[in-house]
Every structure is written in structure tokens, then in C-alpha cells.
């Protein structure tokens, strides 16, 4: 071993490598987070500025039924989008993982995903509008036209569409590592297919299933763009409320309180995930 670096040399190396990035995180991540927390206790001034008095009034305001309903709707979108993604994505991950051309299938899964997020949402607006393809198809069968846009249904559909790959990829990773001998053993021991799947296969895919659920639930709950474009004012989620406070309403203090509340939901779901999955799970997410 060469002579060890002096403490000064070591401090210098840490400063050069960690310094710039660390400082960036302190100024642009930690400080803004603290500012949001602080602003949530302030009050909107007559010109939309932040002033005193300090207090919990913004949090009390969230308990108003109008705002609670937005939270309920967000929760509903998050949960339903996760369940539908699981129904669509779980079998798909198995199909891809066991297919001889799985690289190509993964490529085809990611292709729509890499086109701009707004375009993907907008495409559903085009499909679901009154003169859209879906209503044209319904019309061919003598049905409709239905008012599919703007609606909760449209928001949910586009949310699933946008975040589905987030569910498929972690499950796919689990299926790839799967030990199929367990399934054979279950068969040999006389288990029926359903029972064999529930006991020999499903538990092995829990890590992917949990990771996929978190990766869909968090962005689905937090988005405002999908509800903004496809709900067009009829579907108001937390994200839309926050955007309104920082836009037309210009009540930054209340918007900050809503943001803290939303963050609480995110941290709660991450906490539940960590409890289910263990410490390692958090690293698997990224």
C-alpha cells in the first residue's frame, strides 16, 4: 500500500467531488422544501404576497369538503390506476419475459412511453372527444355518442396509459429472476394450477408487484396535467388545486399547505412500501 493520503488531501477530495453537487442539493432541494413548509404556515396578503400571521389556518382550510373531495378523487385515481395497471401489466410482464423476442417486446413497450408525455395525454383527448374514434366506433354499432370527454373515466384511462410501463418493468425484472423449479415441484406434489401459481409463483413476484404499485400510485396521485387536459375542470385533483393556488388564485400559502399534505401521502405510501419490502426495497425503486 502506498502512503495514505493526509487528512487535508482527503478533505480536499471530498470537497471537489461532493462539494458542487452537495451544495446544489442544499440550495435547490433542501431550501425550497423548507420554504414550502414555511409558506404553508403564512397568510395570503392583499396582493397575493406572503405575510403573517403564522398559524395552522391553511391546514384547517384543507378540511373543507370541496378540498377533501379533491383528495378523495386523487386517492381514487391513484388506487384505480394502480389496480388497472396491475391487471394489464402483470400478465404482460410474464408474456414478455417468456417470449423468445423479449428484447423487441420491451422495445415496443418503451417506444410510446418515450414520446412526449403531453402528446400521450392529448392523444386520448382526440380519441375520446365527441367526434373522436371511440364515438365513431360506437356509432357504427348504433350506440352513443357518449360524453367520454371531459370525464373521470378519461382521466383514469390516460393515467393508466401514461404510467403502465412503470408497472410492467419491475414485475418483468421479478419474473426474469423467477425460480420455475418451485412451480414444477408444486405440480409434482399435486397442486392444481391456480394453487401452484398462488403459492409458488406469486410470492416470488411480490418485490416487482410492490415496486410497480408505488411507481404508478405516486405519480398518478400527484399529476395535474392529465386531469387538467382530460377532466377540463370537471375532475379536480390535488395537483390541480396546487396549480390553481400558484396560478390564477395566487394563494401561495394555501398552495404550500396542499403541497405539504400531498407530500405526506407520498411519504406514507413509501413508508408502507418500505415496511412491506424491507430497507433494500427503496433502493430497488430507482
Amino acid at each position: 500500500m502506498n502512503e495514505a493520503a493526509t487528512p487535508w488531501q482527503r478533505a480536499f477530495r471530498v470537497l471537489v467531488t461532493v462539494g458542487p453537487g452537495g451544495l446544489w442539493l442544499l440550495v435547490f432541494v433542501l431550501l425550497p422544501t423548507l420554504l414550502v413548509l414555511m409558506a404553508s404556515f403564512l397568510t395570503r396578503g392583499p396582493y397575493g404576497e406572503l405575510t403573517g400571521p403564522w398559524g395552522f389556518h391553511n391546514y384547517a382550510k384543507i378540511l373543507h369538503p370541496v378540498y377533501l373531495e379533491a383528495f378523495a378523487q386523487s386517492l381514487l385515481v391513484g388506487v384505480l390506476a394502480t389496480v388497472i395497471s396491475a391487471l394489464l401489466g402483470y400478465p404482460l410482464a410474464f408474456y414478455i419475459a417468456r417470449h423468445p423476442q423479449r428484447d423487441l417486446l420491451l422495445f415496443l413497450l418503451l417506444l410510446p412511453f418515450l414520446t412526449n408525455f403531453l402528446i400521450r395525454v392529448y392523444a386520448w383527448l382526440v380519441l375520446l372527444q365527441r367526434e373522436g374514434l371511440v364515438n365513431a366506433l360506437l356509432g357504427a354499432f348504433g350506440l352513443g355518442p357518449l360524453v367520454l370527454y371531459p370525464s373521470f373515466f378519461a382521466v383514469l384511462l390516460a393515467t393508466v396509459y401514461t404510467f403502465l410501463p412503470f408497472f410492467v418493468l419491475p414485475v418483468y425484472a421479478s419474473v426474469e429472476r423467477l425460480d420455475w423449479q418451485l412451480l414444477e415441484a408444486a405440480h409434482d406434489l399435486g397442486a392444481r394450477p391456480v394453487k401452484a401459481f398462488l403459492h409458488a409463483v406469486l410470492p416470488q413476484t411480490y418485490p416487482g408487484l410492490f415496486a410497480g404499485s408505488v411507481l404508478v400510485f405516486i405519480p398518478a396521485m400527484g399529476t395535474f396535467v392529465v386531469a387538467d387536459l382530460l377532466g377540463a375542470g370537471r375532475v379536480v385533483l390535488i395537483g390541480n388545486l396546487i396549480q390553481q393556488q400558484f396560478g390564477i388564485t395566487r394563494d401561495w400559502a394555501f398552495g404550500a399547505a396542499l403541497s405539504v399534505f400531498l407530500m405526506g401521502f407520498v411519504l406514507l405510501s413509501l413508508y408502507l412500501y418500505a415496511r412491506l419490502q424491507g430497507e433494500r426495497g427503496l433502493k430497488d425503486l430507482v
Partner: protein, 259 residues
Amino acid sequence: MRRLLALHALLVYLFLYLPILVIVALSFNESRRGVRFTGFTLDWYQALFQDPRVLEYFLNTLLVAFVSTLAATVLGTLLAVGLVRYRFPGKGFLSYLLYIPVVVPDVVMGVSLLLLFALAREVLGFPRLSLLTVILGHITFQVAFVTLVVRSRLLLLDPALEEAARDLGARGWQTFWHVTLPLAWPGVAAGALLALTLSLDDFVVTFFTAGPGATTLPLYIYSSVKLGVSPKVHALSTLIIGLSAFFLALGYTLSRRRI
């Protein structure tokens, strides 16, 4: 059972591609409204190319993406090296901080940066909301992703390689430049590519941190969509879809060739 899975997969892929195909088809459709195909036209593309604003927004998007990706890749790579190789006070805290931009919903990220810039403007007199603030915002979420990607690559490397370089008399920066960086290179490239994609795709953070005159393509698409369905947006979307498909296919064939 296998057939059922195949049918299910086929339907899901249809679900994934139907919206995109409809957009592409409509971009060549004469009719302004509705899905009835009345005739082939390139008018919408012509209208798009004749709009000087679209070129400006396109250049803005590229400028933001390249500057922020470059900065975030340098900052993130150095940070990852520091986090993996050295022990220092506050290391655990910094590692947690890294996850905030990853898990926080982007609306919250956008408004928190807006608050920061508003405060800075009040106290320091700058920055005005502009392309600069958009770039600062993008770097912030990119740094986190680059650091995490490069860090996971560095953790796979054998520390004995760097020890060998030191034993052979290499100085700290020589070891970094000739041993650590080349070994970490696939991670750095992957992180940079991810950062670039995130920046090009970002709407929400840009929405909150952009001022007047700092319009990017996603902002333009959003405002035109808000005004109603527009064939020009179909044409622009088709071009973006085509370009992303081209680059993804390029990456896909290149990665296969190496194996």
C-alpha cells in the same frame, strides 16, 4: 393458457399504439375536425414549418436540454464518486436528499422552485423567471437521477482496481481520470441519456419556472391543446414521435451489436 396470455399482450399493445397511430394519421388528414379521413395532405406540416415561433421553441428546448444535461452529468458524476469513495459528515443526509427529486410529485417540485426563485428575486434582485430558471430547475431533478445511476455503476466496480493504480504511484486525480472515470463510463452515459430524455420531456417543472419569452415545445403543445384540437399539433407530435422512435431504435440496434 399461453394463448390467453398472447391475446392479452396483443390487446395491451393495441391499447399502447392506438392513440399514437391516430395522431399520426390525423396529421395527414385534410379534415380539420373529427376522425373521418377526407384526404391526404401535408398542409399541417407546411403550416408548422412556416411558423417562426415553433423554430424558436424548438431551439429553446434543445438549449435547455443540452446545457442542463451537461451540468447535471458533471455534478452528478462527481457527487456519485464522492458518495461511494469517501466518508464524510452529513453523507447519510445527502443520500436522503438525493431521493427527494425522485419521489416528490413534479407539481410540488415545480412550486417549491418557484418559491425559491421568488425569494431570491426579493432578496438578491435576480433571477427573473426565464430560460435560466428553467435550466436551474431541470439540473435539479437531473442531478439526482445521474447521481443514482452513476452510483449504482460505481458500486459494481472492484475497488482493487483503484488501489492498484495508487500502488503503482498514480495521484488522486490521475486515478480518477484514467481508472475510475473510464470504468464508470457506461453509468455516466446512461445517466446523461436519462437526464437528456427527462429534460426534453419535462412539462411541469418548466411550467412553473418559465417566464415570458421562455417557451419550450412542451409548453407550446400545452397551450395549443388548451385552445382546442389543432392539426398543427398533430404534425408536431408526429415529428416528435418519429424522432424518438428513430433514436430509440438506434440505441436498440447499437446495444444489440455490442453483445
